[in-house]
Amino acid sequence: MSERTGLGIVEIAILEAVETSRYVKCANALARVEERIGLAPGYAYEVLVDLARPWSMPVNLVRGQGNFGSRGIDPAANFRYTEARIARAGRVALAAERGEIAPVPIGLINGNTYREGLRPPFRPGAIIDATREVIKRPDVPDRELAGIVGPPCFMTGCVVTGDFAALSAGRRTELRLQAKVSVNGQGKVVLENIAPNIGIDDVVRIIASRASARRWADDHPGLHHRIQLPLAGIQDETQANPFGRIVCTPALGTSPEQLRDLLLDVRGVYTAMPVTLRQPLAALIKHWVRANIHEDLPASLAALEQAQSGD
């Protein structure tokens, strides 16, 4: 992993391969990656797709054109049919890698939970603000720094709860990621901003299966009653919200508020995600600043901030 950006060699090779102002065929970009680091296109494509998908990480380094898949079961189209170009944040990352500007903490912002790693993503502005604070006041108390960074921030906008103090201290803990569940004006229950570590199709399937009758329902009415969701219908309206939108109609005799409360207990509507950091969060930021303080960090942070807001 690069000390200057936190990116891996595959990610850097991909950025170099798509470093162009217009979209290039992914097949051609992946051929360049293979030429440079010997990684077969099928493997590199998975990384490229992650770098481009808006729901995978806070700082997208690549822009994709074509079918890059959905949050459901649809994978991205084959690399012969998709195109990509570098994003502005990707240019900032490459400039930092080449020493043209000071390092940028992209790895710390993006984390690696999108590939089943344990490091969660954080809000880019929060990490940038915390880094600036350390530059200004190297002895800023750790707790204050953790407060500036705040909780992990997943791109789907799901509700995140858990022991943030343990995470900030560098201990392993488990986050609860929950979809936003509300009652709309038509008396239906709307699930939006589904957790990133579950497919939307899976959530629909799980809820639907909890509503269907079981063959053992007559033998075990108690269990059936406990797990049965009083649901008259379910509709996937994800096209209206790329981060997931599922609309549930309560069964006759059930209020939407009752159904909402029951849905909050369904695994899938919420998920668990194990997370940790290599070191306490404050130590990570302070070490990073100390190691790079001789460079113009404020300028590179400003460049990253600008790239994020303007891409």
Binding site: I198, S209, W216, H220, G222, L223, I227, V266, R267, G268
Partner: protein, 130 residues
């Protein structure tokens, strides 16, 4: 624990160990995933996989995984179930002798004895610390 009750209602033969078993036995523990020792045998394994097919989140592990691997974790709409298959192949008869049925909702779930559940937990923790 609900996941275990659903498996039992589906007719899968298993016995519960781990924190869920200890909790059902009245011990004060935090309940995590359901750890289920699965009775060996093709028929039961097939039934287990069928029981998961409607409730698993993500891709359902293959039949070969259930037959060959020592442990297969399955995330379901009721929580995670760790299927302890190798433990079943090795120790089913012994664990079954000490186990008893306990009610979860209105389903009788086979639960390992406290002594066996603690013993397995200790061995697992020791392995984890090695």
């Amino acid at each position: 624990v609900l996941a275990a009750a659903v498996l039992a209602a589906e007719g899968v033969s298993f016995l519960l160990v781990g924190s869920a078993a200890l909790w059902l036995r009245g011990e004060i523990v935090t309940v995590g995933d359901a750890d289920a020792v699965i009775e060996p045998g093709d028929h039961n394994i097939r039934r287990l996989r069928e029981a998961f097919s409607g409730v698993a989140i993500g891709r359902l592990p293959s039949m070969a995984s259930f037959l060959d691997e020592s442990m297969v974790p399955v995330m379901t709409g009721y929580g995670k179930v760790d299927c302890l298959l190798e433990r079943g192949r090795q120790d089913w008869d012994r664990l079954r002798r000490g186990a008893g049925f306990l009610p979860v909702a209105d389903v009788a779930v086979l639960v390992a004895s406290s002594a066996d559940a603690w013993d397995l937990r200790r061995r697992f923790k020791e392995r984890e610390n090695e």
